[in-house]
């Protein structure tokens, strides 16, 4: 590919990409009237520069600019960009989806008084995410990683008057901190081992990680060596960090609660930005992971994917279903990194970004319309509960169509983007298990089941929401015609349609049935899949059963022909209660932490404070004592002398009374005294 820009021009482009959202964040705070304008224009600029960077870097070169930032003894930390294939695809993805979400938000948040704050926070969020993507060292990555967490905290709690929203953003923040500790420890281990945190130096083809090796239980780097256990620990620490951000087991429970934020924010957080950061981190540092960590990662990904899919089966809140779907899909990506199929992980990250964003935006449209109904008819109902929906296809046809396209992509049916990326992961898992054999066959089994569950829960959602009878009129006793339900206006429609187009397989591959023809997958692939029977068979048997499940879901939820009352069974409750993780965390972990902090409080109150108070009292006593000494002994001596002098001088003065004869007497006495003195001596 030929070079369109010089290096310095590319550097400026990269700077503009991140500066624009940051300026928008500041302007949004100060020039509140135009916050929407700042937000949309800045992210558009970022998108344009991202695309330019993309075409300069993609499959062509690696850009690495670094400026010295911190120098500590022999450790140097830089400030810089690292743009390689992974970065630029993420850049385009983030800025593109963020732009669509910005546009969508204009309508979604139109009536909110704090609109300027919303757009300002969105810009901050985009700024942080773009910086995460471009950061050239782990330290910088960590800093912006935290900023992403903070911005998401602000956005999840955007409706801060809602008690649950405040609770949710606190929960997201705290759970992310747990993961971040892992990340930080991982950075420290790498810094100790290699003395640098630069991504290019560490993880490039001929980087330090590749030149280090494990020998005789020692992890040897060109500089020093440490016990090989630290390699595993470092990997696990980074995995923990990624699990926190990407909502993997056991740190997943913040994400469903984060649904309390505006739906557009959920869409942004879930599609391309916050949760993708975890997977992005894993991909950036993937050479670090050894066999043990990779297996652990694959297990966590698999468990998360399966768990979240099983939970999504029974949720009644439309956004909760999508939230668990996100967790499940992220599980797929982590699983893909775990089985060392980075190409599929990146591919799935990209395709998932589009269809999950679309799912949320479309769900947001439904919620938005029902919210209008709620205000219009002045009734009370939960606009996110699927029990209040049904039959919306006729009333909101475009919303339903784009939702179904996205759902097909999520289910991974042919001719959609999801088909390509999910098949990549499935085949890799089959290959991986095939090489290992034995117990590892659980992986493909569970992955297949999860894949079917995915199809089932998303079509359950569709049939409950868009097909069957419209249940709301009977619930609030308002006739359906009076509700004026319709598709939203173009601010919402256009982004949704653009995303729907991006969900098609043709966007990613010339032949939408062949993973190998996908340009995105092709760019990252390290070793091609073995062209075996698996490659043909896996998509077929997954999809055939998926279609069967869709039909089943149609009969169960749209037509109501098959009903089964399983709400009281333990497995229904187990799924509905989200595997009791919240219960476990609240009752056990949080209670434990609270108990510990109460103990700490007690210790602080009575032991530490007691010591402090005691020493204060001792000091007070000492100062009283010295006050007494000063006042009565020192001052007493001084005052005593002074008063003696004054008495004496008063008496002495009284001699000088001006009476002539008194002077005579004194003279006489003095003379006599002198004489007596003389006589005695």
């Amino acid at each position: 590919m030929e070079q369109y820009f010089t290096d310095s021009q590319l550097l400026y482009l990269a700077l503009i990409t991140i500066t624009a959202p940051f300026l928008s964040f500041l302007f949004g705070q100060f020039f509140k009237k135009y916050a929407v304008l700042w937000g949309i224009s800045s992210i558009s600029i970022s998108l344009v520069t991202s695309v330019l960077l993309f075409f300069s870097v993609w499959q062509n070169q690696v850009l690495h600019y670094s400026f010295s930032w911190i120098k500590l003894a022999n450790i140097q930390i830089n400030l810089g960009f690292l743009l390689n294939n992974l970065s630029v695809i993420m850049l385009v993805l983030v800025s593109f989806i963020a732009l669509l979400v910005h546009i969508y938000s204009v309508e979604y948040i139109r009536k909110d008084a704090l609109k300027y704050r919303y757009f300002s926070y969105l810009s901050l969020f985009c700024f942080a995410m773009l910086c995460v993507v471009m950061a050239d060292n782990l330290f910088l990555l960590y800093a912006f990683w935290e900023l992403v967490g903070f911005a998401s905290y602000l956005l999840i709690g955007f409706w801060f008057t809602k008690r649950r929203a405040v609770h949710a953003n606190k929960k997201a923040f705290v759970m992310n901190r747990v993961g971040d500790v892992g990340f930080l420890v991982g950075i420290m281990i790498l810094l100790a081992q290699f003395g640098t945190v630069d991504l290019q130096t560490l993880f490039a083809e001929n980087g330090l990680i590749h030149s280090s090796f494990v020998q005789n239980g020692l992890w040897v780097s060109p500089f020093r060596s440490m016990p090989s256990a630290w390699l595993t620990i470092a990997g696990v620490c980074f995995l923990l960090g990624a699990a926190g951000k990407s909502a993997q087991f056991p740190l997943h429970s913040w994400l469903p609660d984060a649904m309390q934020g505006p739906t557009a924010v959920s869409s942004l957080i879930h599609a391309a930005t916050m949760v993708a950061a975890g997977v992005f981190l894993l991909l950036r540092i993937s050479p670090l992971f050894n066999e043990a960590v990779l297996t652990l990662m694959a297990s966590i990904g698999l468990l998360t994917a399966f768990m979240a899919a099983s939970i999504a089966l029974t949720q009644t809140d439309i956004k909760k279903v999508l939230a668990f779907s996100t967790i499940s899909q992220l599980g797929f990506m982590v699983l893909a990194v775990g089985v060392q199929d980075n190409a599929s992980a990146i591919f799935h990250l990209s395709t998932h970004a589009f269809f999950k964003c679309l799912l949320f935006l479309a769900a947001g449209m439904v919620i938005h319309q029902l919210h209008h109904v709620k205000e219009y008819t002045e009734t009370k109902f939960d606009e996110q509960d699927m029990a209040n929906m049904g039959g919306l296809f006729k009333r909101m046809p475009l919303t339903a169509v784009v939702f179904i396209i996205a759902a097909l992509a999520l289910a991974g049916l042919p001719f959609t983007s999801g088909f390509l990326s999910k098949d990549g992961i499935l085949i890799s898992v089959f290959d991986w298990a095939g090489h290992r054999g034995g117990l590892f066959w659980i992986f493909p089994l569970l992955v297949s089941i999860t894949s079917w569950l995915t199809t089932f829960y998303i079509f359950r959602l569709i049939f409950k929401t868009f097909f069957g009878d419209f249940r709301l009129p009977n619930i609030i006793n308002v006739r359906a015609e009076e509700m004026h339900l319709h598709d939203p206006n173009n601010w919402m429609k256009v982004p949704a349609v653009i995303l729907a187009v991006c969900c098609l397989g043709l966007v990613f591959a010339i032949n939408p049935l062949s993973l190998e023809s996908s340009w995105l997958h092709h760019a990252f692939v390290q070793q091609a899949h073995e062209n075996g029977l698996l490659h043909l068979l896996v998509p077929v048997y997954i999809n055939v059963l998926s279609v069967v499940l869709i039909i089943a879901a149609y009969y169960i939820y749209a037509q109501g022909r098959i009903t089964f009352s399983n709400q009281r069974t333990w497995y229904y409750q187990f799924s509905y209660q989200q595997w009791y993780f919240n219960w476990l965390y609240d009752k056990k972990l949080v209670a434990l932490v609270l108990w510990k902090s109460k103990m700490a409080f007690w210790f602080d109150r009575y032991v530490i404070d007691g010591l402090v108070h005691f020493s204060a009292k001792a000091a007070l006593f000492m100062s009283r004592l010295s006050d007494f000494c000063d006042r009565y002994l020192v001052d007493g001596a001084v005052n005593g002398i002074a008063s003696i002098m004054s008495r004496f001088s008063v008496w002495f003065r009284s001699m000088q009374n001006g009476k002539l004869q008194h002077y005579f007497v004194w003279m006489l006495l003095l003379f006599l005294g002198f004489m007596i003195f003389k006589i005695i001596i």
Binding site: G658, L660, F664, V665
Partner: protein, 101 residues
């Protein structure tokens, strides 16, 4: 026989009387008179002691000297008393206290 002791006793008595007068009187003139008595007591002493210096009569010369000085002093003292009276309309020394510290 009149011995030296008699002179000295009379002189001492005279001096004591003069001193008493000086200390106790409330009139400047009377104080002056006390002073005169004391001077005379000392002259008496001088004259009495001159018995031991027949050759040069130093005692008597001193006596004469003191008489002249006393006369001069009386003159000066009287002038002071008169000026005092002019100034404060009294010659009671206990009432003139403008020098009191």
């Amino acid at each position: 026989m009149i011995t030296l002791q008699h002179f000295l006793l009379i002189s001492a008595a005279l001096f004591a009387l003069g001193l008493y007068g000086v200390i106790t009187r409330r009139n400047a003139i009377q104080i002056l008179m006390g002073i005169e008595l004391m001077i005379n007591a000392s002259i008496l002493n001088m004259v009495a002691f001159s018995k031991f210096d027949r050759a040069e009569n130093t005692g008597q010369v001193f006596g004469l000297f003191i008489i002249i000085l006393a006369a001069v002093a009386v003159a000066v003292a009287l002038v002071i008393i008169m000026n005092l009276y002019k100034r404060v309309q009294t010659i009671d020394p206990s009432k003139t206290k403008s020098l009191k510290g």
